[in-house]
């Protein structure tokens, strides 16, 4: 088995594959405390490569059994939910709802659904933390932004902090998506510090060459003690790829939403704070715009 892992590792490194190897879903749960090279070949600039041999990993059958129980339970839930209705709720409920709260922050478990990141991963000096707010009613994202670029000879720019919701996973780590096709606006109740934030919506595309595509819009916070209720129609979100706004703009595909995130990158050094009460959806019947940006034809008819 060690030889097969070694062979897999060599194949992976030679093919530079960023996707899970076929055997990993079966052996992954058995491996504890192991840095999986099969997920990504990303290495922080300036750090030395990890040469831990694969045969030194710890196997745990208990973990494997727990994993099997959990995934079969999820599979059973998916099958039952499929019978109940769209997304496990009744049909009438699905069609009659005009608002829905998707994320609210009432306990540590709600915070665990989010991932905090900053340019510290690439050697920067920004800091970002996420904790529950007063009376466990909100989430507080705070920290310090620093635009000082790391001195590793590779990175030219720095200065971002972000949080992003974890991707939904179904049984056996299959991808699951949010279906927001019944709604047309994103509704947030936040209290910021006057800084402009970017809201990113990630629609996991089918093909890997589009994996860096992101739909973005801006959220301008007012600061001050009063809560801010922001409604952003989905028609306003524009397509960017790898941080660059694309010339070819497409409307957001609402039935395949994977994740939502907030990013701060306003090039202003100093502390920041964003308090989020909830993130929800709204079906604003008065909003009839389909897409805000021009979709030009390359060869227009004369």
């Amino acid at each position: 088995m060690a030889l097969s892992f070694k062979l897999m590792e060599n194949v992976f490194l030679s093919s530079k594959c960023h996707r899970q190897n076929a055997l990993h879903p079966f052996c992954g749960p058995l491996l504890t405390n192991c840095i999986s090279k099969l997920y990504s070949s990303y290495r922080r600039p300036g750090t030395s490569p990890d040469n831990t041999p694969l045969w030194k990993m710890n196997f745990s059958f208990e973990n494997g059994v727990d994993w099997i129980k959990k995934n079969f339970g999820l599979l059973k839930k998916e099958l039952v939910d499929h019978v109940k209705g769209p997304e496990g709720r009744g049909f009438e409920e699905y069609f009659l709802e005009q608002t829905r709260v998707v994320w609210e922050f009432r306990s540590q478990k709600d915070l665990d659904e989010w991932v905090v990141s900053s340019d510290a991963e690439i050697g920067g000096k920004s800091e970002a933390y996420l904790k529950l707010g007063k009376n466990n009613q909100t989430a507080l994202l705070f920290g310090t932004l620093s635009t000082e670029a790391p001195r590793d000879g590779e990175t030219g720019y720095s200065g971002y902090c972000a949080i992003r919701a974890k991707l939904l996973k179904g049984a056996f780590d299959t991808k699951k998506y949010y279906d927001w096709s019944n709604f047309n606006s994103l509704y947030l109740r936040v209290r910021g510090d006057g800084r402009p934030w970017m809201i990113n919506i990630y629609t996991d595309p089918y093909y890997s060459h589009q994996k860096d595509d992101l739909y973005t819009y801006f959220m301008f916070t007012r600061g001050g003690p009063y809560w801010q209720e922001i409604t952003i129609p989905f028609s306003k979100f524009f397509l960017s790829s790898w941080g660059r706004i694309q010339d070819d703009q497409y409307p957001l595909w609402l039935d395949k939403i994977s994740s939502v995130g907030f990013t701060l990158g306003d090039k202003a050094d100093g502390p920041f704070q964003l308090e989020i009460d909830f993130i929800g959806l709204l079906n604003d019947r008065a909003h009839t715009e389909e897409f805000a940006y021009e979709k030009y034809e390359r060869n227009p008819k004369a």
Binding site: H82, V83, F95
Partner: protein, 347 residues
């Protein structure tokens, strides 16, 4: 699209299945399939104003290319074993099994159906119509031509699986094109069920399916609705079309005395005659799953009045497109069962 390119593409799209249907040489049949596939790809992704169309055309191409290569491999295997390219001559077991797999992949039968709902959801309604009707012609014809060499047990298994997946998958869909995709999978199950026993019935089922699906998709296009939520307010645009859509849905479900009941009745009769009563009963029970979601669309769009805003009730003020041949198609999709003996004589 450039009119010259459009002309070439449309003529290739028509020519491809014609070559396949009229050929007795395996390579010519495969060439016809390829011409058809290459012609439909630019049509599927012709307007890249939406991300979905671009993705759908690639998904369609990858699946069809894989099926074509498997079919070519099975043809070569057949030639190696039998020494001849004639379609009508019996093939050996391995070749016929591979051909079955390749052609079912092209058709979108279970278990090779995963591409169909995603592709149909991503394209326009007219392309959905072509993909669910015209594109089925050539592979189904090839299956009918080689039906003597096909494994009945395998086909019956694939058919039952298709009916089950077509019914189960469409249960809680809210997008109408995905519902039509699962409907297509279930109907193809009925067609392939009876393939080895009676190709005439397969042909009758196919013609009926084309009529019903064309009528349904044209109705969806005229009502300009893609989702269940917009179908609920389509009565404001054209109440008559909304009512006939209900009839069409019942016909798709196979309820008597509408047209869709006719092929199902004959298939069950043929299966019973061939002592396959349990399979006939299972097929009838599995069709209840499809019946459920057809009735649900009819319930929400026609039978009940869902809550809606004032602006939705004014949609009749906007002029709708009109298709002069649609009334004839609606009549054909609803009232053909009483003249069933005529069809039996013709076929």
């Amino acid at each position: 699209m450039n009119p010259h390119a459009n002309m070439i593409i449309m003529s290739s799209l028509i020519l491809g299945p014609m070559i396949t249907i009229t050929s007795s040489h395996w390579v010519m049949a495969w060439v016809g399939l390829e011409i058809n596939m290459l012609a439909i790809i630019p049509l599927t992704g012709q307007t890249t104003t939406t991300h979905e169309q671009f993705e759908a055309s690639i998904k369609y191409f990858l699946t069809q290319a894989a099926a074509s290569s498997l079919l070519l491999f099975s043809i070569i295997n057949n030639v190696w074993n039998t020494g001849q390219f004639d379609i009508t001559q019996p093939t050996n077991t391995l070749s016929s099994t591979m051909m079955t797999a390749a052609l079912t992949m092209k058709l979108g039968l279970a278990p090779f159906h995963y591409w169909l709902p995603e592709t149909l959801q991503g394209t326009t309604t007219m392309m959905t119509l072509i993909l669910t009707t015209w594109q089925k012609l050539a592979p189904l014809t090839l299956l009918m031509m080689i039906n003597q060499s096909l494994n009945t047990s395998l086909l019956v298994t694939l058919s039952l699986l298709s009916m089950m997946i077509g019914g189960w998958g469409g249960l809680n869909q809210t997008q109408l094109r995905k519902i039509m995709a699962f409907s297509s999978i279930a109907h193809l199950g009925w067609m392939t069920m009876i393939l080895t026993l009676s190709t005439k019935l397969t042909l009758l089922t196919f013609y009926t399916y084309i009529t019903l699906t064309t009528t349904m998709l044209l109705t969806i296009k005229l009502l300009e609705t893609n989702k269940m939520s917009t179908a609920m307010t389509s009565w404001t645009k054209s109440p008559m079309l909304n009512a006939t859509m209900m009839l069409n849905l019942m016909s798709l479900a196979g309820l008597p005395p509408l047209t869709g009941f006719m092929p199902k009745w004959l298939i069950l009769q043929e299966l019973t005659k061939n002592h396959m009563t349990i399979i006939a009963a299972t097929s009838a029970i599995l069709s209840l799953l499809s019946l459920f979601f057809y009735i649900r669309i009819a319930y929400y769009s026609t039978i009940t009045l869902p809550p809606n805003m004032t602006n939705y009730s004014q949609q009749w003020r906007h002029k709708n497109q009109q298709k002069p041949y649609l009334p004839l198609m609606i009549i054909t999709s609803s009232m053909l069962t009483p003249i069933m003996p005529t069809f039996m004589m013709i076929l």
